[in-house]
């Protein structure tokens, strides 16, 4: 397990069980490289969300080793985890918007947590809401938004801080196909700016929409390569597009 220069995530023989139940994830080994775009597929119940939980540091594996940004995050002290989480952008399957806060305040939350000044966050947050098509709903509470609108707020919150890695759990599950494609463009745009993207989805049509993506498949808690011997997925260089602007995305 030489921490190859530039790898952003490394899983080694990771297993996960909830409580005393059976293993939900077994023998998971893979490496993610910076700037790549990954799809994580698999039937419902295959363990996609569980794998992402390990990735966004909300769950500890029951066995195995996980390195992120070159650091072993399993033995890392609790006090140092927030700094790692701030480098991630997460779209939760159930959105996890703060119900008492407006769309604006939900999107601004990661910036406020990181201590960004109020004067410096108003414009980026407003622009981001504009970009996901919610410019006129910035004062709305989540409960007054449709499922698709909430999902877009969740996505805006995940990408607002220009994370090193974007982790999205079924991010297009509640939007119509057109909006799904538009959101994928947003992820691609972010990806071209250098963000590593991991999108979990059971929608196989989505995979074709991002030609340069790499695909990981989970089947009953195991990654697609049945021997587990290979690094999965294989490394492949990505074409970089410097100077790509968010506003040009659509």
């Amino acid at each position: 397990m030489n921490a190859a220069e530039g790898d952003i995530v490394q899983f080694d023989n990771v297993g996960l069980r909830y409580g005393a139940g059976k293993e939900i994830l077994s023998d998971i080994s893979f490496t993610l490289y910076p700037g790549s775009f990954y799809f994580l597929t698999g039937a419902s119940g295959a363990g996609k969300t569980s794998l992402l939980k390990l990735l966004y540091l909300s769950q500890r594996p029951s066995r195995g080793a996980i390195r992120m940004f070159g650091t072993d995050v399993i033995t890392l002290s609790r006090a140092r985890l927030p700094a790692f989480r701030r480098r991630l952008g997460v779209v939760f399957q159930d959105f996890r918007l703060v119900q008492h806060l407006s769309a604006f305040d939900n999107v601004a939350l990661p910036l406020r947590v990181s201590g960004v000044k109020e004067s410096e966050l108003e414009k980026p947050v407003a622009d981001m809401l504009e970009w996901v098509g919610l410019g006129d709903r910035s004062d709305a509470r989540p409960a007054t938004l449709s499922g698709g609108e909430q999902q877009r707020v969740a996505i805006a919150r995940a990408v607002i801080g220009r994370p090193d890695m974007l982790i999205a759990d079924e991010p297009t599950g509640n939007v119509d196909p057109e909006m799904a494609v538009k959101l994928l463009r947003l992820f691609e745009a972010l990806n071209r700016l250098g963000t590593t993207v991991v999108v979990a989805t059971h929608d196989l049509h989505l995979l074709k929409k991002v030609p340069e993506s790499l695909i990981m498949r989970l089947d009953k808690g195991r990654l697609g390569d049945p021997t587990g011997a290979l690094r999965y997925p294989p490394k492949r260089p990505l074409p970089q597009t410097p100077g790509f602007e968010l506003e040009d995305g659509l």
Partner: protein
């Protein structure tokens, strides 16, 4: 003060909603602070009362001339007064005039009989020593009077009031116990309230946690929000408590008894009472912090 600053900056205060005035927290705290205030005021007033009475009585002796025959009584009383007035270590000697005795005993005997007419009433002499009354000095005074005023009975004034003092002292302990119990109950109530606030905001806490919020940041949000409730409740509670104290004080003052008037509250007492809501706020915020941190520690 960071508490006030947090309330002022609207945007950052919105990490978690501020206005939770509808919850039971402020009222629970208000009631606790009011009760604690009243109990503390009562205890402090009793302490002052006991202290004042003790100081006033500690140097006092009472000489009674218990003699049924009026002329003998008067003679012995006058002799005793002149003997005592010339003895060393005695500050003041005063024979309580018969008219004063009449008013003193009137409630028991009615004004039918003036002192000494129908019912023989002893002559009373108030003696003030220069220091506290010790057994030795009591014996010395008795020795002085023994031969010449055989009807004299000498008592320390404080010994008459010993049962009163012990009753007051019990009440003081009771007040102290109440204050301690109320403080413990308040802390428990605040603990429960902050746990339930935590429960209903668990989602928010998890989200801020997953977005990279530190334990300190999250605890601060709750501390501030519960501190705000506690300030509100403490202020209201102190208001109710003070109103009750002033009302009770006025009613006791209306009794016009000299003894009760010794039980007023001094500047330091009022300062101590004013610290009660402050202590409430501090307990509330510390409890909130401990509760939130304990819950967070269970998350990765």
């Amino acid at each position: 003060m960071s508490l006030i600053k947090g309330l002022g900056s609207e945007r950052s205060a919105q990490l978690v909603p501020q206005a939770r005035l509808t919850g039971p927290m402020p009222w629970v705290i208000a009631i606790m602070v009011a009760l604690t205030t009243i109990a503390a005021a009562g205890g402090l007033a009793l302490a002052n009362l006991a202290g004042a009475a003790r100081a006033e009585l500690s140097g006092g002796l009472t000489v009674q001339i218990v003699e049924a025959e009026p002329t003998a009584r008067d003679r012995q009383a006058e002799l005793a007064v002149s003997l005592l007035a010339n003895a060393p270590g005695i500050e003041a000697v005063r024979r309580v005039p018969d008219s004063e005795l009449d008013t003193l005993i009137e409630p028991w005997l009615g004004d039918a009989g003036a002192a000494g007419d129908t019912v023989p009433v002893p002559a009373l002499i108030d003696v003030r020593l220069s220091g506290p009354v010790t057994d030795r000095r009591l014996q010395a005074v008795r020795g002085l009077l023994r031969g010449r005023a055989p009807a004299a009975q000498v008592d320390a004034q404080s010994s008459w009031l010993r049962p009163v003092f012990s009753a007051i002292s019990s009440l003081q302990w009771l007040a102290l116990g109440l204050v301690v119990l109320l403080a413990a109950t308040s802390a428990a109530a605040v603990w429960l309230a902050s746990r339930s606030a935590l429960g209903s905001n668990r989602g928010t806490i998890e989200i801020v946690h997953l977005l990279g919020g530190t334990d300190g940041q999250i605890a601060y949000i709750f501390q501030r929000s519960i501190g705000f409730d506690a300030v509100l409740g403490g202020t209201v509670g102190l208001g109710f408590g003070l109103a009750a104290i002033l009302l009770l004080g006025r009613q006791f003052a209306a009794l016009g008894s000299g003894m009760i008037s010794g039980g007023g509250l001094g500047l330091y007492d009022w300062a101590a009472i004013a610290l009660i809501p402050l202590a409430g706020v501090i307990i509330a915020m510390i409890t909130a912090r401990i509760t939130v941190l304990a819950a967070l520690r269970k998350m990765l």
